[in-house]
Symmetry: C2
Subunit: 337 residues, 2 copies
DNA sequence: GAAAGCTGTCGAAGCGCTTCGACAACCTAT
DNA sequence: ATAGGTTGTCGAAGCGCTTCGACAGCTTTC
């Protein structure tokens, strides 16, 4: 391993000079800088991360806690994680990947050991165990998601309430009066991650304002569960012509079932989905949808964090505005018989 | 931050004793050990990662390079990543997440800076640019995937050749004679990741041995692409009764299209998929499939790596044996007219 | 009962870097 | 010409840990 000292010797300067060339924290004459840079290149020098962390008390690492569950909204998680990683790199940070498994202990471990300078938490529950720890430390952090109490925390999330409202409005504008909501699996509601509830709240509030009838049914993914749910929906509200789906793995089954029952989309029934763009465009009917802006969320989180680490930035809750893209799955409500 | 020295003082021993209690590298009397452990707990001590890395020349971090692409086999990637992370933790390692974006530079950076003790590379291409670098360093690494030349490398992957053979055999046993293979998107073959080719090779070889007719068509995901591909297949080989699908996002479209065309699965047409378990069980027809054992691959990779880091273990290629699970999408070939 | 071997502990060196204060060397203004 | 600023560089201290050699106090062995 090449060390700072070797570079310094090679360039004929002192170690501190090399350090200052690297960090730019003091002015260095152009000639010296170039000589040092040349030596660095020639020797293939890379600063030792441990030494740097020890001396500067900064690891240049951001910890990212992702949920352990591999069964839900996986593509979204992955997209966020990748966006976080690439975006962090552009700011000179690396990402330490933590799974939810360790729970609050992971937070303690990371903050205690100086492994990371900051954390990004995904999949935050309304009353998350990790929050007190975050509040009790001076290590910057950003949540992706929205807990019940956000005081002293920085959060980034999609405005799911507005998302719900947007879906209802779209269907209302098309003349639909009876709307069914196919929600996430019951487990998601039980875990109180909040986003599902917030969407529902947005849906309900706007539906009430617009005087629509709304029926909400949580639904496991998959064909069988969807079939059962759909049967119950039409049983209870035969006049249903609009669907809002917030469960990726229920989307395709729903479309297949509607087709099978002879209900044409969008002629007889309109479907609006809350899902990643890719699901919407690759479905058997190109879906009118509100995309979960995973990339943007990841990028945003990193930028908030970097701002904090630089002493800029403050605690705030950023709710990204939802955008509804009209595709082939929604259209005017059929004329009532 | 609590330091080693503070713990030592609190326990009334020297710093080195505390260190040895922590590492277990020298014998310590039970009474002293307990006293030290008590102090550690009481003070909430966590060893400083940077200092430890600097002094011991070990970071206890494993770098994981995941592909940047978020559009392909995402759930598999995610599952592997999570398996790697959790499995690494049980061995006392953390995971540094690198995206493919930096390419070979990332390898240089990580090995050069001592950021990580070892690397796991995913999505390895047949003639991957990163391989020469890995061979040229003494830093242990494990590939998930199989490059063209594996000398000096440790690899873990599903035995895709055997997977292909297994699929063909299953269909052959059921009496199918004309088989269509719905492959990955053309881009996957162009990138030469190898697994798609190896599957195809296994399919072809076994088909020849069993005297079956095999038609291979790469296919983009999604409904439209699948529709076009399917039309061409039946056009060229009207007698096709067996399908092997190796493209998650073509599975559901295929099933929908077959249904739509009045071809019953499995009565008229059998479908065997190579995909994650979840896709197979959540599809509209429960799919006979060979699962990509993502978890096991991740776990295996970590174990190989830890073995190497401990001085045990050696370079070897581990190909996991595929397992075919019979579900509802395959059955006896229809009687020929 | 002295030599030899254990066991448990300590002190000190050093890992490779950052950063602070010092200080030449130069450049202004008076 | 001289006091006062700049600018560019250096030396040294120190970050918190690991690890090596030393050694005191035992126990064993012939």
């Amino acid at each position: 391993m090449v060390t700072l000292a070797e570079v310094a010797q090679h360039a004929g300067v002192s170690a501190s000079t090399v350090s200052y060339v690297l960090s730019g924290k003091r002015s260095i004459s152009t000639t010296t800088r170039q000589r040092v840079e040349e030596s660095i290149r020639e020797l293939g020098y890379h600063p030792n991360a441990g030494a740097r962390a020890l001396a500067s008390n900064r690891s240049n690492i951001i910890a990212l806690m992702i949920p352990l569950r591999t069964d839900m909204y996986v593509p979204v998680m992955m997209e966020i994680a990748i966006a976080v990683a690439t975006s962090a790199r552009t700011h000179g940070y690396d990402i330490l990947l933590l799974t939810g498994e360790e729970g609050p202990d992971a937070v303690r471990r990371v903050t205690g050991s100086g492994l990371a300078d900051a954390m990004i938490l995904m999949d935050v529950e309304l009353d998350d165990e990790r929050l007190p720890l975050l509040r009790g430390t001076d290590q910057p952090s950003v949540l992706i998601g929205l807990p019940a109490d956000t005081t002293g925390l920085t959060c980034v999330d999609l405005d799911f309430r507005a998302t719900g409202a947007l879906c209802v409005e779209h269907l209302a504008n098309l003349g639909h009066r009876d709307i069914a909501v196919i929600g996430e699996a019951p487990a998601v509601y039980e875990r109180h991650t909040g986003f599902a509830e917030r969407t529902l709240d947005g849906l309900r509030t706007r539906a009430r304002e617009l005087e629509l009838r709304l029926l909400h049914r949580p639904c496991e993914g998959g064909y069988d569960a969807m079939a059962a749910t759909l049967a119950r929906v039409f049983d209870e509200r035969p006049g249903t012509t609009g669907f809002v789906v917030q469960n990726e793995s229920a989307v395709e089954p729903l479309l297949a079932l509607l087709r099978q029952q002879g209900r044409a989309v969008p002629e007889d029934v309109s479907v609006v989905a809350v899902c990643p763009e890719q699901v919407a465009t690759q479905a058997s009917v190109r879906l009118t949808s509100v995309a979960v802006p995973a990339q943007e969320m990841g990028r945003h989180a990193v930028e908030q964090l970097v701002a904090k680490l630089d002493g800029r930035g403050s605690d705030e809750v950023v709710l990204l505005a939802p955008e509804l893209t009209v595709r082939a799955s929604s259209g005017p409500a059929p004329v009532r018989s």
